[in-house]
């Protein structure tokens, strides 16, 4: 299979110029909306149509992938207007509106900690570091909805091998970009920011663990974690951190945002597991968006058990939820 690399493409070329004026206008609008009565706001929510999908830049990637699911791919409109990205608002439709002018260029990802060759990667370097692949993964949110997304990227192990972790490195800590100015709704998020996540080193090295820079044949829309994010298909969606700026190799299990927020509900591992309910809802079923009925059976490890179950041999997954 021919692998087309975007060799002449610079990441700075593909990020649209920011329109600060529009953002300011939008914020003023928010202020006005805040003053409206509860009932009026409710009607406005019902009347206003959802935001349009953000058009990115085309990416070439190798496909199909042996990891592909054969399930029906979710329409991009669904995936780009329904996002958990609390820095841009806690309502699902807010990130698509509020992240439109998020500045994603220039961008660097710092790889540091217990590694022989710490370094900063620019987006141009990340684009060319390994052949881009398209992989169609199931994505299961802890909130019991799921989507099927054709991600573009490559296994994170490509980067890990480059920086040469030392024997002390047992875990990998991830950190999202955070900027109060660009993310004015941060204070409403109710979670500590910047958003942090973590994996065991062997989980991070697993070929399914993906560093994603695109989806649906294009660069990532801002609301879906532009310009670069993680995709870990056998774990609940919140483990797949967005807008990644730091990867740090560490000795001990790193803190993770939702575990800090509510340890009783969100564990470090957070593997998709139909047998361990969220304290507030069942995890045995899910709704496949944009459907109405929550009647799709949730699969152990989100259906990736053949590939990843061995990572957890001998572990009590009820305790290590």
């Amino acid at each position: 299979m021919l692998i087309k690399r975007a060799s002449d493409l610079k990441y700075s070329d593909i990020t649209p110029r920011e329109d600060y004026l529009n953002r300011r206008k939008f914020l003023q609008g928010l202020g006005l909306a805040g003053g409206l009565a509860i009932a009026g706001k409710g009607v406005a929510d019902l009347v206003s149509p959802p935001a349009r999908a953000y058009a990115g830049t085309k990416l070439s990637a190798k496909s199909p992938s042996p990891f592909d699911t054969t399930e029906k791919v979710t329409p991009p409109q669904v995936v780009t207007t329904y996002n958990n990205y609390y820095e841009f608002g806690t309502d699902k439709d807010q990130p698509a509106k509020n992240a439109q002018n998020f500045v994603t260029s220039p961008w660097t990802v710092s790889v540091e900690g217990e590694v022989g060759k710490p370094r900063k990667f620019t987006m141009d370097e990340i684009l060319k570091l390994a052949p881009l692949e398209e992989r169609i993964y199931r994505h299961r949110c802890v909130e019991a909805w799921s989507i099927v997304v054709p991600w573009i990227g490559y296994s994170l192990s490509n980067i890990i091998n480059l920086v040469e972790p030392t024997p002390k490195a047992k875990f990998v800590a991830f950190e999202s970009y955070f900027d109060r100015k660009q993310m004015p709704l941060w204070s409403r998020a109710g979670i500590e920011l910047p958003y942090v996540e973590g994996l065991r080193l062997d989980e991070a090295m697993h070929p399914l663990t993906m560093l994603s820079i695109g989806m649906y044949g294009e660069t990532l829309p801002n609301q879906d974690g532009a310009p670069v994010r993680m995709t870990i298909p056998w774990k609940y969606g919140f483990k797949s951190i967005k807008s990644l700026v730091k990867i740090k190799f560490v000795k001990d299990q790193p803190p993770t945002t939702w575990n800090i927020t509510n340890a009783h509900e969100y564990g470090f591992y957070s593997n998709v597991n139909p047998n361990v309910d969220h304290p507030r809802w069942t995890q045995a079923r899910e709704v496949r968006l944009p459907g109405y009925f929550k009647n799709t059976k949730t699969l152990m490890f989100n259906g990736y058990g053949d590939q990843v179950a061995s990572l957890y041999n001998g572990m009590d997954l009820k305790k290590n939820y």
């Binding site: 509860i38 009932a39 409710g42 009607v43 929510d45 019902l46 009347v47 149509p49 959802p50 409109q77 669904v78 995936v79 207007t81 329904y82 609390y86 806690t90 699902k92 439709d93 909130e143 909805w145 409403r188 998020a189 109710g190 979670i191 927020t261 509510n262 304290p279 507030r280 809802w281 069942t282 079923r285 709704v287 968006l289 944009p290 459907g291 109405y292 009925f293 929550k294 009647n295």
Partner: protein, 217 residues
Amino acid sequence: MNSILTSKWTKVVVFLACLIPAGLLIRGAITGNLSSNPTQFLEHATGDWTLRFLAITLAISPLRKILGQPQLIRFRRMLGLFAFFYGCCHFCIYIGLDQVLDFSGVWADVMKRRYITVGFTGFVLMIPLAVTSTAGWIRRLGGKRWQMVHRLIYVSAVAGVIHYFWLVKSDIHLPLEYAGVISVLLAWRIYGRYTNPKRHAAIPKMERKNSAPAISD
């Protein structure tokens, strides 16, 4: 003002206005505009409207007093019934779409998950209020007893707000807004009780002929 409030057409207009949210949701379902997760959207929208109508219903008595418009009482029963209507929609969507008619699952949820326990309680407590909202029931129960029973709406409203608090993941601003509104409406009643212990809450018109409590306003 008074002639507007007493006009039978005003009641029709208010009735139709109360149906607008339901109409917009139906339109959204037909045109596929209920976000990417339509069931969640419907659950949240109908839950919101239940709480809003509970708040609006609870606002009638204070507004009658503050605005000096006792005629507002004409709308209270209808508004309360709309709270119940949106509560029914909320509950049906949960049972039909979220639980996919798995009644043992619903019962397990009610017993096991506290936010559902409290929400379910708030909803169930609205049923006797809806049933006894007719003139006949006011007569049968007698004003005082009827009034006692209908104070259950306070419990339903508080239960609804707690349900919302326990449901959100981290951003508690919206439940806080409802908590604020409901608190003010309940505090007004407590305040009224202490400052004017003889004052009774309003009992609808058809009751006045037959029963004892004097209506001060």
